[in-house]
Symmetry: C2
Subunit: 263 residues, 2 copies
Amino acid sequence: MDTAIRYVHGYSTTEATRLGDQADTLAELLHGDTAYPPGARVLEVGCGVGAQTAHLVASSPEAHLTAVDISADSLAAARARIGDRVTWRQADLFTLPFADDEFDHLFVCFVLEHLPDPTAALRSLRRVLRPGGTLTVIEGDHGSAYYHPASPHAQRTIDCLVRLQPGDALIGRRLHPLLTAADYRDVTVTPRVVYADDSRPGVVDGFTRNTFVAMVEGVRAEALAAGLLTEAEWERGIADLRRTADPGGTFNYTFFKATAVNP
Amino acid sequence: MDTAIRYVHGYSTTEATRLGDQADTLAELLHGDTAYPPGARVLEVGCGVGAQTAHLVASSPEAHLTAVDISADSLAAARARIGDRVTWRQADLFTLPFADDEFDHLFVCFVLEHLPDPTAALRSLRRVLRPGGTLTVIEGDHGSAYYHPASPHAQRTIDCLVRLQPGDALIGRRLHPLLTAADYRDVTVTPRVVYADDSRPGVVDGFTRNTFVAMVEGVRAEALAAGLLTEAEWERGIADLRRTADPGGTFNYTFFKATAVNP
């Protein structure tokens, strides 16, 4: 990742906990169909605190896993969490310290959404992926969120998150054209829907309340400082958004998972 | 259905074709997990031109199927399409000509979204459903549509459809609280996502272009007459919406399917 990029969600301990909770709740939905064979050389790009890396380790116990991130602090947290089962490297994805064709598979989760030029990033990554190797990309799409009760006030707080996120908070819906433009082949994209209602209290708590609403609440200070909403508008919107996790509320959000082949 | 309710999509032959195409494209997604056992007494409420009835007949060949609709013309079209394998009755769902507890299962697809009081309708239906019998409901949610390229102009044409539809065009997201409020038990709701990109030309054509965009285009005259948009705004919005079915575009829409038990 470009060091000039501001990571909108911050690097606090609370944020690391949130990402860990999110990963556990969503693990099966996002990662259940990813497993690399024994001996496969796999690179995770932008591993952060290792929330997704933990699932790679569990699902591909005999693969050779390498993980890079631009942040030394995040890497330290990831190593503390997962140990030396993974080779950890601090690096910018545009200047990866690896040989051409060094990996059989690349894994990129919740990274492209933060980049100013995801197409250039995807093209750059191809250098270290052998011909015939695969790329897996997972991203969210904050414009996929809708909920009951519907509320324009709640929507305006989500719109703040979309506006303040450097990169493209709506990137999930365009993974197919993006990977195609970066010259990958056999691009396959599947939506992965998180749906919460009263019959799914774990999803209400783990996703609606502690992942999505928490993420929106995380940009409060920045949204007010930027003058996107008044404090009263923010409070009303967040109250409506929280209401979707109360009894009778529902919440929908869609992640997108893409796989593709390096020609 | 209440005869006072205006059916926003109209009753034209083109509309019947559109509904048929839509049903065929979506059949597996929406109906693949519905099959009633031999001898089961099943009532479809609001069968329209029989687009969904055809799938019930195919998936439950030995069930006793009865279908009602408020429109004699629609029923005639349904009978012409499917034949006398099904018992057809013209009726208002609030005054069904059946005995208490007469059916083992009720099937309601794309009906509640058009009603002013869907909770009252669901409560009323319970009379003809035996205790322990099941209700299946399938509805769309026009607020679940999002697409690439994103466009506020396209969104305004969709918003016209939402505003002009009598009833609740966003009903899908609230099926769980709705069935719960109508005193059904064991309510289970699952989202059914239609996702289109260049790798799925059948979905692009069958759903994005010929179902969703066609449906939005169907309210053009009414939207302009109501002054919701100028003609220029409409044309720009529809052009952007059509663009999502061109190469590089993507489209997402979610249906919701609920099952529940009559206590």
